[in-house]
Symmetry: C2
Subunit: 396 residues, 2 copies
Amino acid sequence: MIEQVLVLSLSKQTIERYNTTMSFSEELNIKQGVFTFAGDSKLPLQSGREFGPISVAYETYGVLSKDKCNAILLLHALSGDAHVAGKHNKEDKKTGWWDVMVGPGKPFDTNKYFVICSNVLGGCSGTTGPSSLDPLTKKPYAMTFPVITIEDMVNAQHALVKSLGIDCLYSISGGSMGGMQALKWVQMYPEMIKSVVAIATTTKLSPQAIAFNEVGRQAIISDPAWNKGDYYGKKELPRKGLSIARMLGHITYLSEEGMTRKFGRQLSSSQQFQYEFLTEFQVESYLHYQGQRFTERFDANSYIYLTKAIDYFDLSSGYNSLEEALAMVKSKFLVLSYSSDWLFPTYQSDELVKALRKNNIDVSFCEINADYGHDSFLLQNDLHEKLIHGFLENVK
Amino acid sequence: MIEQVLVLSLSKQTIERYNTTMSFSEELNIKQGVFTFAGDSKLPLQSGREFGPISVAYETYGVLSKDKCNAILLLHALSGDAHVAGKHNKEDKKTGWWDVMVGPGKPFDTNKYFVICSNVLGGCSGTTGPSSLDPLTKKPYAMTFPVITIEDMVNAQHALVKSLGIDCLYSISGGSMGGMQALKWVQMYPEMIKSVVAIATTTKLSPQAIAFNEVGRQAIISDPAWNKGDYYGKKELPRKGLSIARMLGHITYLSEEGMTRKFGRQLSSSQQFQYEFLTEFQVESYLHYQGQRFTERFDANSYIYLTKAIDYFDLSSGYNSLEEALAMVKSKFLVLSYSSDWLFPTYQSDELVKALRKNNIDVSFCEINADYGHDSFLLQNDLHEKLIHGFLENVK
């Protein structure tokens, strides 16, 4: 398969490396690669700018069938990356971000499907983003990186998929920002896609969600260590601002009932209030931990660029209605929402479903009862696993 | 009446000034005062510390009846102050924070009732707080100010009310943190209170609300200008951090539907995306404006202290149940919640109502349909005005 990939990659594109060392999670047949394109002929961005070269870090799981018709493209959310399932090494503490969903016998069954996941354009886990070196200046792009959109992310993924010799995707799926990419994919490349699994997502970001993103961005750019985005290689990084943005994000990913069940008003260590400005409540400790940990793996500028891309997302932009914006769609759909998701509430999925049905698209829709808020889509849940499994079985 | 106040103030207490200049809103008979107590005999705080002297800035509206039985104590929310209604001067741009509710012919009718409102302990609008001068050091307390609680606020108000010669309150009322104070009042001084109007409030802060408060505090203390709280008189103030905290607060005071109706995805100036990191969406401009304006009138350290007091609030703390925590209550209750308030949702008011009814308290409860979120209680609304008016008419 590796030879095929190299042969089929377009002339201006290169596969920089393709890690064929045996992975720890052998049954997943994890392969890592970086695909580079738009070196000479830049990628036109939605902003009107052109940009390149672009490297796309990706992983594949399972085996591409001879007819190349079993590929499923998974699309990650804001803080995700290409590593969707399994472990690369025995020492890895954590599996990929959607390990509950991807693997042999799991809904995205790697015994049947060839699963592809790539880090998004603008990200910081291998794909070109603000922390990447600008070949012209030999310095990180930082804030000279162009403002990108969900459409631009999809175009980069499209170039990757084509480079793998794949003309037809059995399914595309993602939650949250991943779902936005899935919807943009099916709007831009409807002929390529047999089915879509859109999870905990929306066709346009609400003003409340824009507001939360803006507060997060303000926390980052107000951190003196952010230094107008020019902090790479410096001693001080904008960890504090990024941590605050992540703490806030986490509140929106959970739900009030989930937090009450998980933390309540429990204190971290003492049995009684200390009447000091300490991190006393368990919910505070949890958020501090999540915020701090995030700064160890995520780039503050990527956070700014990706949240802006999310804010801009409006599938019906340029159309008279959402129905019209989906008129080209032929794919079968599964739409899932979660009862306690208040960031992308069920009514937003419902709007998508209604617009698809007006276009006579075959749509299955389920609101899953779960108290874990927006993050429910990432967690073990028999119902959504069965629904996705069953849906994929019946794609023709 | 002024003379009475002076005569009745306790020996260790002083009325520093009492502004009898004619107010602009003459019909309200606004009077401003500062009551100082706990100079020699300090106030015991819930933390176990003692603190004093304490000055309480307050305003009164209307006239205290001869039998002193027509006083209503209004309790402000996090960012409020003693100035609840009308204007002090013709030049004032804004009226008090609850002008829709307080005045002749309004629900808290100043033709009938003697309305009192004081700035809370820990605040920054005249009452002793972290920005006040410590008489020992002649410097602002800053973070040497003791951690205070809703109970401590109530004790300061109690001293004020007693100093005014009032032994019985016709009603106490407040929304949000003001409602918490009302609940604490009736728990601590049940014999003094004929009726309670508890609006958009809760008997204990949820972990989600604690989490939002903690993110706001982190934004402030991460601002280098905060300087461990020691910024008074300095050139740089922690405006950026306080502004971010306020922006976040504002999101929680509104609702998703309210924001969608008010702002939608409308842009501020341009008709199309600029693909730059500008304040593009109207909702962003609104939050920036609110954040910036807040820093002109509020002290960052007060924000830290008051949110901590809110986090600590749990009416049933020290009791076996909420029912038991309200067993001493004799007052008649009106409880109001708002359908779109997701910060202090209706179920929390419902818990209060159920606990009161178990104690055979006369409770009227209404969830008011309003899409303005938590802030609905501050806005014009025929229904809540009529309900409060009618409720107060029938207090005996």
